[in-house]
Amino acid sequence: MNILGIDIGYSNLKLAFSKSGEKPKTILRPAGAAPADRFGNRFDGKVQADFLHVLVGDEEFVAGVSPDRAEMWTRSLHADYASSHSYKALFHAGLLLSEMDMIDTLVTGLPVSQYLDENRKKVLVEQMQGTHQVTPKRAVTVENVKVVPQPIGGLLDYIAQEDADIEDARVLVIDPGFFSVDWVVIAHKDLHRQSSGTSLNASSVVLEEASRLIAKDHGSAVNTETLENAIRSGKSTVLVLGQRVDLAPYIEQAAQTVGPVVLEAIQKSLRIESRMPDLVVLVGGGATFFRDAVQNTFDKLKVVTPKDAVYSNARGFWLMGNTL
């Protein structure tokens, strides 16, 4: 049985896939996708090696590249992301990268607030199920689709990595992504819907704030994509008007501003819980931005983060796929 866990984020596309019983392979690509004619050509006329060419309907898209590579194309940074062409292109890129022609079970996630909307969930299942013409010569069939709240993937990944016994624990899972920060409360294996939620003060807001702070000190702002690319590739500096500027102090300061706002929303939603969580699991690509704020807020609790947290959800979705 072929299983694919796919996490189509606003910043990165993450995949975990294998046949059941085998160790999953993971892939991470930037989540930029736009029609092929919006990308520049190489001076030597050769094909860009890092481009993934996929079809969305009849139109050729390039996917899996940095979001600022396309010209005359606005990045989808809104709640309707799943119905955008970019999302569909990234989905097709994910199917292509899985190297499978037939996927028996595909598991993906939605932000918590969208997951709670039954109609939105149904639409996404219908969108992903069936046969997809991903390139002119390649079709991939997806048999079964399951949609789960985004942070559930991270929780399963944590359990797998640490062999954690949390059956009788009350666990708060916080998943800071690029567009939204999602959280869920799981107690005695039940998802507490009323205490789970979404905040839009996410990583993109941290980067915007960092950009504003850089502009204040250095006379010119850096766009969020430049900051995002630097972080993705592990660079510690960015160029501002020809001068190298250290990123860390600005990211830290921005996180100190944005983090508490998100944590206040989380605390508010936990008010209806009869008791405090026993454990906080912090997952997702933006985990490092929010770690201090989470630990300061839940100072008496253990805050844990799985290794390679950016892959957490995809790996957890793959684990969920093994149950179906």
């Binding site: 399951k146 789960v148 709240p149 559930i152 399963l156 990944d157 359990i159 797998a160 990595q161 640490e162 062999d163 954690a164 016994d165 949390i166 059956e167 799981i186 294996k189 039940d190 998802l191 957890g316 684990l319 969920m320 093994n322 149950t323 179906l324």
Partner: protein
């Protein structure tokens, strides 16, 4: 039939649980008891999760493999219990 002979000494200091378990068994039945306990141990080590029926002390007891599942197995088991709820 192939087999080999094992001569072992069980001391209270080194193996207090095993010593206690074997002390209560008549000496001529101790070897069989050691074989039975070893079979239970091997089931646990193999982590198969298979329910093994062992005849012990004259009555039949189902012995569940108590070995902790590996991380992935535990996560899949947890996911399975969540699946209907999510």
């Amino acid at each position: 039939m192939t087999g080999f002979r094992v001569i072992m000494t069980v001391t209270e200091e080194a193996s207090p649980e095993l010593y206690k378990a074997l002390k209560a068994v008549p000496s001529r039945l101790r070897a069989e008891r050691v074989r039975t306990l070893s079979a239970i141990g091997l089931t646990a080590v193999s982590g198969t999760g298979v329910q093994t029926r062992i005849i012990a002390s004259g009555s039949e007891h189902p012995v569940q493999d108590k070995a902790a599942p590996s991380g992935s197995a535990r996560a899949v088991s947890f996911a399975r219990s969540l699946a209907d709820g999510v």
